[in-house]
Symmetry: C2
Subunit: 127 residues, 2 copies
């Protein structure tokens, strides 16, 4: 029996699905890099992102391709060449990235808040 008070997660927070889609650990750097530098190969992507392993990069690229945010083009050459690019749908996320970039200067305030929090006596805070 479901209770009538039960809450649908998607209704509780309508933006959660978009967050799951775009802002997982590695999807953000991948989409951002593709959006910034355009069509590029597997290794270029890997080098630009810096610390990602081939396995994880493949996994996330496959997922993004399935979600229609990224395209994959295989060139049957020797040596093989594969190019990834952001799709039109993926590119429609660009304003989002801009909003994030615009907010990022506030990170200094976050840093300050953390230092203040850590420096403040915990005693009078926790009843």
């Amino acid at each position: 029996m479901k209770e009538t008070t039960e809450i649908d997660p998607a209704q509780a927070c309508p933006i959660a699905p978009v967050v799951d889609l775009v802002f997982s650990r590695w999807t953000t750097p991948i989409l951002w890099t593709l959006n910034e530098y355009g069509r590029q190969r597997f290794v270029e992507l890997q080098r630009r992102i810096g610390t990602i392993t081939p396995k994880v990069l493949t996994q996330r690229l496959r997922q993004l391709e399935r979600d229609g945010l990224v395209t994959r083009t295989y060139h049957a050459e020797v040596p093989p060449r594969v190019e990834y690019d952001i799709s039109p749908l993926g590119r429609s996320l660009a304003p989002l990235f801009h909003s994030l970039a615009e907010w990022s200067p506030n990170l200094t305030k976050v840093q300050a808040a953390r230092e203040h929090f850590d420096a403040t006596e915990p005693a009078h805070r926790r009843p």
Copy 2:
């Protein structure tokens, strides 16, 4: 020895720190709910978010408080009463949430892309 080709993750993707801050699994629903319904108590938050456990809610609230995105107000009454609210800094994220909400209709395209991907023969895709 650091190689000169080494890449700073934050430089590789400048928006990654903001994503870490705001778009973890539960921080989004918490911030969204506080931003939407305003100041409220622990249990109200828990009921609105729906499936979050008290432990996790406490953890994330503490983190958000430390980051300066959420405020916590303790009222020494019987029974005790605690109210959470979004801080001005947290409220400055509202445009971001709006951008996300505006993009969310595109989720239908994502769904379509998935179905197409799954329905397409894998054979001719994977060389």
